[in-house]
């Protein structure tokens, strides 16, 4: 599960990691007052940011620096009344419902750095699969994409493993801070942030806890040494662990999810929408991936990943059909089921019943697009017999003899 930036800031702040003053708003009317609350006359700079999970906000004009309440209101009006378009949004764009208004931060220039470069760092805790433990990842180059750095200059990335039970030791944080180039009091401040971030990662069952950038601010009268502060953060949580974090569940924003995927979740199906035109209904995640692969191999384009569960019950298949066909791009469906414990004749009956019952968007009943069904496993012969007999009243149904035959048939059927 992902959360919004404003929620991530709340988590950081709750864990004792300094963040700039800021507040979430959901209407234009709140903008001016919120701007005033997070800024002061001496430092009028603030930033208005659209709260969406999709990236590319800056280039799309959905992150704006403002210097007055009127500018904040203008930015808020623009963002809340226009759809955001970026390479990561769907073609029709994304409606923005929430904004974050946060105080601008005066970042300390980096000594010896390029002109205009500030003291910005990257910090994250995530799972190191190869070593089967969490790892702290840090880089002196904050604010940019870490994947790019990892790919182009892996030596610019510093890693420190967390003990699976004890977490990050304070000395590890100090060492990483020194290697990042922190000096003097900032070393302890940065190490403290790392400690707290590592604790947060473990305590909240994160799969990613990222601060990008972590900055050093310019000295002020209140903070004569400047502060080490988190400007932006991103959290992903382990879905398997959400059952023990009620407060995190409450942060879930259903408007960020694909409606089909949400519906699938409610029925215990695993569904991911893709952009092809051949719907896939499969039992088992590995077989479902392999089915997408074989469709592609035969020149087709899969519309989705769908794991209907090991038993492929009639209820699950009915729901799955309905989710798959709610995507208007779908021109044909391939069902691929390996009947293990559940017998093929039972599965075939379920598939046929579900197809007969299927409600089209115009209210009519029955399956209209080509439906290629491939069954294998226990009692497969009676399962196939059943499919052949059902073809009389399900004219688009085509039983397949094997996996390759099914892929060929469905690709041919959608043209």
């Amino acid at each position: 599960m992902k959360i919004h930036e404003y929620q991530a800031r709340e988590l950081l702040s709750g864990a004792g990691i300094p963040v700039p003053a800021g507040q979430m708003i959901s209407s234009v009317e709140e903008a001016a007052a919120t701007y005033k609350a997070v800024t002061s006359p001496g430092s009028p700079l603030a930033v208005v940011k659209a709260q969406v999970h999709a990236g590319g906000r800056g280039k799309a004009g959905f992150v704006k620096l403002v210097k007055s309440a009127a500018e904040a209101e203008d930015a808020a009006r623009f963002m809340l009344t226009h759809r955001m378009h970026s390479p990561q949004t769907p073609p029709e764009g994304l409606e923005v419902r929430k904004l974050l208004i946060a105080a601008g931060v005066d970042i300390m220039p980096r000594a010896g750095g390029a002109k205009g470069a500030g003291e910005e760092f990257y910090l994250a805790v995530t799972l190191d699969r190869a070593n089967r433990r969490p790892v702290l990842i840090a880089s002196r180059e904050g604010g940019v994409e870490i994947e790019k750095i990892a790919h182009e200059r892996p030596e610019a990335i510093i890693k420190a493993p967390l003990h699976p039970v004890a977490g990050l030791e304070p000395h590890q944080g100090r060492e990483v801070a020194c290697r990042l180039g922190f000096k003097g009091k900032h070393i302890l401040a940065a190490a403290d942030v790392m400690s707290r971030l590592a604790k947060l990662y473990l305590a909240r069952d994160c799969s990613l806890a990222e601060i990008n950038p972590l900055v050093i601010t310019n000295p002020t009268t209140e903070h004569p040494d400047g502060r080490v502060m988190a400007i932006d953060a991103k959290f992903n949580f382990d879905d398997n662990a959400l059952f023990r974090h009620k407060d995190l569940q409450a942060m879930f924003d259903p408007t960020e999810e694909n409606p089909g995927e949400l519906r699938a979740q409610r029925f215990g199906l695993s569904y991911i929408a893709l952009d092809g035109n051949i719907g896939c209904l499969v039992n088992g995640a590995g077989l479902a991936m392999a089915t997408m692969d074989i469709v592609k191999l035969h020149g087709g384009s899969p519309a989705n990943f769908l794991d209907v569960g090991g038993s492929a019950s009639e209820e699950a298949v009915t729901e799955a059909f309905s989710i798959i066909l709610s995507d208007p791009r779908v021109k044909g469906v391939m069902v691929n089921i390996f009947g293990g414990i559940m017998r093929c004749d039972v599965i075939a009956q379920g598939v046929v019943n579900a197809a007969r019952k299927h409600k089209n968007t115009d209210g009519s009943t029955g399956f209209r697009v080509p439906l290629v069904v491939r069954l294998e496993g226990t009692n497969v012969e009676s399962g196939r017999d059943l499919l052949r007999r059902a073809a009389a009243d399900l004219p688009t149904l085509q039983p397949a003899t094997d996996l390759a035959d099914a892929a060929v048939k469905v690709c041919r059927a959608v043209g």
Binding site: R129, I272, M289, A404
Partner: protein
């Protein structure tokens, strides 16, 4: 011969009183597995529908039954602890079927398991299979036991040489004495139904399976591909190895290196997820493309470079291992 489990393996079920645990306890009994008892804390002293004794702790179960393996069906939030309990009680093979265990639980569990194993002589170490897996099976002969000929679990009986620990349909597997070609394939896979598909294809081609190991779809688990390659390579009755992987992590890439350096037996592989979009979790918690190295194409390239016969289509898995073994 086989790896890890055989006709003599004595198995208990942790979570035997849950619906899923009870169903598959029955299935394993029908297959001919020596299932000798179960564990549900608080229900010790009672018996299940098959008259198997139920114990409060794994330690009690081991003492009373002489079990050396377990299958775990306890709910996700309690499963990591169940694994550690099994290991602490000295069980040699732990098949964790449970799906949905929090990753941090498995990180902790695996670290503690490794610690426990490090203090033991090799012969007494616990091998973890899974979690989120179908389990492990060493096929037995089809003797017509079980409830009927079409019973999906059955086809072997006590003494037929088989051992099924987990949720896979038993009857699709073939014992070497009943295979047309008289050769056995060892199968290792991160997936459930895709494994059954591979078993089905090899059986249909006249091949047998020595042992099939479902290592599971989670990012942190017990056995990896590389461990299974090592086991199959050392097993004199495994004649070829079929490895089924998927996107995410670098286990298949590591296994490719191992195959090149150490495997004298033919190896074939299939990697699922060539069409999977990056950053999306494809059903399995571990099946997610994170970077350039863990895509299906990167893994396929590594396997090919190691001389492994790669099936590009899931319909070709059986034929790929047959090609690698130069038969059929």
């Amino acid at each position: 011969m086989s790896v890890l489990v055989d006709r003599n393996t004595r198995v208990i079920c942790q979570g035997i009183t849950g619906a899923y645990g009870a169903q598959h306890t029955k299935g394993c009994l029908l297959y001919g597995t020596q299932l000798v008892g179960g564990v549900t804390p608080g229900k010790g002293g009672t018996r299940d529908d098959n008259s198997l004794p139920i114990f409060d702790t794994v330690e009690q179960a081991v003492k009373a039954t002489g079990a050396d393996a377990t299958m775990i069906f306890v709910p996700p939030g309690l499963a990591a602890d169940a694994i550690l309990e099994a290991a602490a009680s000295g069980l040699r093979v732990i098949a964790a079927i449970t799906e949905g265990i929090p990753v941090n639980d498995m990180v902790r569990c695996r670290a503690l398991l490794d610690e426990m194993n490090a203090s033991r002589p090799e012969a007494r170490r616990s091998v973890l299979i899974g979690p989120n897996c179908p389990g492990i099976i060493t096929p037995g002969r089809k003797t017509g036991a079980g409830t009927s000929k079409d019973d999906p679990y059955t086809s072997a009986s006590k003494g037929a040489g088989g051992c099924k620990i987990g949720i896979m349909p038993g009857y699709i597997h073939t014992h070497v004495s009943e295979s047309k070609l008289g050769k056995s394939v060892g199968i290792v896979s991160r997936s459930g139904t895709l494994t059954y598909e591979a078993v089905w294809q090899t059986s249909a081609l006249g091949l047998a399976q020595s042992t099939c190991i479902g290592i599971g779809g989670d990012p942190v688990r017990g056995l990896n591909h590389i461990d299974c390659l090592r086991l199959f390579e050392a097993d004199p009755d495994t004649h070829g190895i079929l490895m089924i992987g998927e996107i995410g992590g670098r286990d298949e890439t590591d296994a490719a290196g191992f195959a090149k350096a150490h495997c004298t037996k033919p190896v074939a592989a299939f990697i699922a997820g060539r069409t999977a979009p990056p950053g999306r979790r494809m059903g399995h918690a571990g099946a997610i493309v994170g970077g350039a190295d863990d895509t299906a194409d990167a893994k396929i390239a590594a396997l090919k470079a190691a001389g492994v016969e790669v099936a590009m289509s899931p319909a070709d898995m059986g034929k790929a291992i047959a090609r690698a073994m130069k038969i059929g």
